[in-house]
Symmetry: C2
């Protein structure tokens, strides 16, 4: 039986991993029995089941062949995607109504018409006209006044940091006052920087003022001014990751650090959360000094963002759709957070439920004494902020859950908790 | 006059750099004269010229406003793109006939229809079905046998190396036997690795066997086997960047190092050169050990390639278009190289002109005693491999030049050289 399993699994895995593909001949029963040192009966049984399960086909007089498993895989893929996680409460997905696919398609189509442009590599810094459009956009939105020359574009914040790190002096220490941005912390460490949390004397300070903590605390204006003052006195560089600033509509609008500071701020913004998670376009405004260094070293960097998407996004912004899009998702997600919070309150009478400052996250505190694996077992994805002394703190974002599923998702969470 | 220039240029630059945008009011003549400490006449003259040049408009009784400079900029941009370089002989662009835009547009359109999928972030490793398609593709093409689990996708080779570097032991030295891949060398150095050229004892060896040198030398099978043997004996990792292997049709087909080796090879491939420079999708096949390390640390990495383009590319490969595309561009570029080489031979009777092994590059050796800046002055982009003792060696690729322009490009090069 063990031998049978070995043969069955090994061949199945070679097929699933495409080491054997459609039409490939697999060894004859006799040959396989020699290869695996098992009886021909064992091989015959294994082959029979592989046929039954659709992985191979027997062709009379010529042997066994790998069948077209495209269909099996497509089924597996879709079950993979849907069955793994039933409710993702971490905000890892966007709402289906959040994005106008038809409109975006029009811009992509128009970008693909610019053949001449698409035949060459993008500038390492990113497309010039997109940088112009971004400069204008962040001036209007965040009072970040800069020239397109100082902007670099990249496929995600991580990519931008991988461009910035080589430009920075490695003897500097880096401080991450919010230690939840683990990706960023390990990225700097990979480049050999000394990374701390809350280091007053750090040469580089990395902050997300509009999303200071997992549950979306916003840095008050007073602390912003203190930080600017401190960094100016200390000569330290502040990297301002303006993540989720677009959602701050019910808090007093807080100016960006860049607008408050003078010259030593690197400003980082991203469009993925505004448009689609799969569109990877972010940008950074470098300090004058770093921007000059970048230009000197630009031969070392290749542009990472799709050129088609850069061209499309430029026109999308110029035509004013970005502003409309932000208003739309702000309205949509704020309503979703409120609605889900109130359903959770109905279901979990004894829990403390609050909405985070930037209106995207729900903080749920309650008694809990089960195994923490219960969430996985129930196919729920949640972010556990804290779990000790019989109490648990969850940070919940319902952005990717359809409104019609809110009740069921809340019930599932209740079942996991109580 | 100097003061006038200062005012004129400063305001013009603020407008061009979008620090001031359409509709912004600029200081009144009196206020500006205080700000710049100059007479009101100087300001008036500067403002008058700014109006004449289209940067600002005077509105009677309300003052001066920034005008809509979109048009000025669009003109500037297009002149920027075309006038800078007349003939790019470095292969930095693709031929307009090399890519079927309409076909690709169909795949992009179909990808944009998969809304559910686009609403979530791509797996850090890259889309699963694309990895399956790549596994099958490199098995057929390069005999690289692996499972989709070992493949990681990224927006360009640089991005892949930025994922691989943090997985490698930093005490290892890295050897680049071909020192022309400066981007790669400085990237490893940025991560704190010791980088050498031709270090026999290096723990990591980075090679492009199908493009060993700028002019496309191909690593012979004998040296490939030696390298494999050496790395196995030494326990070193070989990074095989299989750049331009697709063009090797008139050389004896040389197997990939990965296919020859056993387990210690990282295989890297890219689609940008096959499709469009602006489509940034590359992949790496990790060793088993590094692939496990990647999975453990995958929370640290975000996918950089566009999800839409990943979905489109997957179906494009599955439908067999990649094979057809490679045949097409191989034919196209080989013919272009040959044709341009023969035109160059006609024009430059005294030069030695050869086609590189991988049929994409032309090596041109000739006497030369002018200033090396002549190429820039004549708006020619060429790669100078060597220049000493009155002789120059150029590496030329005509891929981005239209056939109808060959004669003119060759004449321009002649004029620069003689």
């Amino acid at each position: 039986m063990k031998k049978y399993n070995q043969v069955y699994n090994e061949i199945k895995n070679m097929i699933l991993s495409r080491q054997l593909i459609c039409g490939d001949k697999i060894p004859s029963v006799r040959k396989a029995s020699q290869l695996y040192s098992v009886s021909t009966t064992t091989i015959q049984n294994a082959y029979f089941d592989l046929c039954a399960d659709g992985y191979i086909i027997a062709q009379p007089k010529s042997g066994y062949f790998v069948s077209d498993i495209e269909e099996i895989l497509t089924q597996e893929e879709s079950s993979r995607q849907t069955s793994d996680i039933k409710y993702d409460l971490t905000g890892g997905a966007a709402d289906a109504d959040s994005f106008d696919f038809t409109l975006w398609q029009r811009y992509i189509k128009s970008a693909l018409r610019q053949k001449e442009r698409l035949l060459s590599y993008s500038e390492p810094q990113g497309e010039y006209d997109l940088r112009c459009a971004i400069a204008q956009y962040i001036k209007e939105k965040r009072n970040v006044i800069t020239s397109p020359d100082r902007i670099i574009i990249g496929a995600g914040v991580q990519t931008l940091l991988q461009t910035i790190c080589p430009l920075l002096d490695k003897s500097l220490t880096v401080s991450f006052p919010d230690n939840s941005f683990r990706q960023g912390m390990s990225l700097f460490a990979d480049y050999g920087f000394e990374v701390h949390t809350r280091d007053k004397d750090a040469g580089i300070i990395y902050v997300s003022p509009s999303h200071m903590t997992r549950w979306g605390d916003v840095m008050p204006i007073k602390r912003r001014l203190e930080l600017i003052k401190h960094s100016q006195k200390n000569g330290s560089i502040v990297i301002e990751d303006d993540y989720e600033n677009e959602f701050l509509y019910n808090v007093t609008p807080t100016p960006s650090l860049y607008a408050l500071g003078k010259g030593n701020i690197i400003y980082i913004g991203s469009f993925s959360a505004m448009l689609l998670p799969g569109i990877r376009i972010s940008f950074a405004v470098l300090t004058k000094q770093l921007s000059e260094k970048f230009k000197m070293l630009s031969y070392r960097f290749a542009q990472t963002a799709s050129k088609t998407e850069q061209i499309a996004l430029c026109q999308y912004i110029r035509d004013g759709h970005m502003n409309a899009q932000i208003r739309k998702i702000r309205r949509l997600y704020t309503a979703k957070t409120k609605s889900f919070a109130s359903i959770l309150k109905d279901e979990l009478k004894n829990a403390e439920i609050e909405i985070g400052e930037n209106t995207l996250q729900i903080i749920l505190k309650t008694e809990f004494s089960k195994d923490i694996n219960i969430f996985n077992q129930m196919s729920l994805r949640v972010f556990v902020q804290e779990y000790k002394d019989g109490r648990i703190v969850l940070v919940i974002s319902p952005s990717g859950i359809e409104n019609a599923e809110f009740k069921n998702a809340a019930k599932a969470l209740k079942k996991a908790l109580i």
